[in-house]
Subunit: 363 residues, 2 copies
Amino acid sequence: MSPKELPPSKNLVFGRTFSDHMLRIRWTEATGWQAPSIEPFATINLSPGATVLHYAQSLFEGMKAYRHDNGTVTMFRPDMNMKRMNTSAQRLALPAFDGNALLECIKELISLDRQWIPKEPGHSLYIRPTLIGTNGTLGVAPPSEALLFVITSPVGPYYPRGFKPVPLHGTTEYIRAAPGGTGAYKLAANYAPGVVAQKSAAKQGYAQNLWLHGPEHWLTEVGTMNLFAVIKDKDGITELITPPLDGMILPGVTRDSVLALARNHVSGVKRLEGLPDVIRVSERPINMGEIIQSSKEGRLIELFGTGTAAVVTPVDKIGYNGGDVIIPTGKDGMGPVSKPLWTELVGIQTGDIQSDWNYVVAQ
Amino acid sequence: MSPKELPPSKNLVFGRTFSDHMLRIRWTEATGWQAPSIEPFATINLSPGATVLHYAQSLFEGMKAYRHDNGTVTMFRPDMNMKRMNTSAQRLALPAFDGNALLECIKELISLDRQWIPKEPGHSLYIRPTLIGTNGTLGVAPPSEALLFVITSPVGPYYPRGFKPVPLHGTTEYIRAAPGGTGAYKLAANYAPGVVAQKSAAKQGYAQNLWLHGPEHWLTEVGTMNLFAVIKDKDGITELITPPLDGMILPGVTRDSVLALARNHVSGVKRLEGLPDVIRVSERPINMGEIIQSSKEGRLIELFGTGTAAVVTPVDKIGYNGGDVIIPTGKDGMGPVSKPLWTELVGIQTGDIQSDWNYVVAQ
């Protein structure tokens, strides 16, 4: 196969362009994992009875490879993704795998296709490992055959025209997750059902869903991102709040990193410029009642989503109970807490800041 | 392609053998539905970025074609499946289609492969229409390309050794559905997450999950079947109870048929032999408290699941709160209410009883 033409970076749309190669690793119940194989990007040929098509036996991960100015290529905390991918596999009774070995294969794939990592600032190579059940029998059961594949896609900055805060629709008529369900796992099954909810929000003028849980309207996630709120507590201390990992919340890598950076700032391990000296870092439930109350009392500082695709997404309002709750935003979109955290995160990812969170793919 | 060898009917395992042909109909946002095509059964070739693989953009139906003793081939109420399939498509923002036109295509497919319908009593041809999003882009959005395909599979009786009542595990640690979710739609996304719950029930000695909802432990469904309980009310009247279509319950064709047969019996439109003269037919919530209370008072008559695959599945116990609630069963498995209803249903499906529920595929 002759390599494809690389599109100009400015024309990149998330997940539409794929690089020349892909990784495939087959598994069968009888033989276990077969030898991994890096092949030209090509169709996946499935039995029309394949369980992935009928029962959503599928899970995935999302990661990025960044090209630093000095040419080094790194990934950001990929061990977290490998661990989560195995947790997702367990939830679906799909086979477990050696995360380190898979990471080595992904490293090879990226090295081979490294010309596909765009050079422009804010650009990266998006990496999508996927594990699907492939046996062609219609019983609902653990699969006897599976395929793990990895594709990669060059992507530009999620917000090419800078941070424009997004309005959210406080959603109660649809759910993303519920206790005992699969919200804490990165399963295919969690995504398709959200499309009509997003369409309904868009129709009402909102960009994304703010998924509210239960009669108390607990905040859970934003679209396909984790969620953070910043409130000035009554004792005057700035509190950075994100919902706890109670079984409904995806344990996001960006979520974990934001918490770690904030805690390192508080403990003095690494102070971040611009961040308030004292922050209360909380993994705790927060509901719309508290958002509205703190907003009324002028104590609501900001609200933002976090995820691999966009890193940080500021929010400027929440449509709720027929009205809009206005959320303060900074002059370039991000607020006083998200901005220094985002700056540090992106500094690490682009290689400007040294960190052992970077996993070197190629020098 | 040369036709495959038909396996002996006694060796059939549900959904493992497929007939010679399949139906394929492509859809694109730009052109709409393309011409349907009946082709040899062969692999489906997808972009590795196809949304069905990553986000579970998939829904399906299950129907059966029965061969009567006189050679006539019929399907059972397929209009219900076509209607439900369109409802599922709408829930996933997949394209709507003309149910009558699809049914005509399925009729042609079955006629072509009619030698695949086993002749033995209790056997049938299982029909699996499936609609999947196929566009190869990683955005979570309504698909711009889709494929509707139909495969068929000869199947034997679900319980080849007669009706053996199954023990259920009263499941609260996993959920099948929740308000605002997708339990009322036949989506791929509803199935894979149930596999670990079934495995966990099996490990404890139970065949299937009895999905209990909320702190009140409302009974919802059994494995992948709808659920009926029969209780003698305090006024001495036999009550046939199934949970209402409140958004968590799949509107099953067998469920609807059981309700219709029972109501026709009560109203005198068609009396069924063996059924109590007076029955209270209720679509209403029922919880474990009521099951236990009626069991203690000797008023619990039976409990059974309904679905296309097994038609009626009697239950003999429910593992709950560390003990077992024993459910009465009849001497051949089914109880006094399910038995006459099952007899009528199967009589219609096999052509022994005339009914406008039968849709003639071939004479």
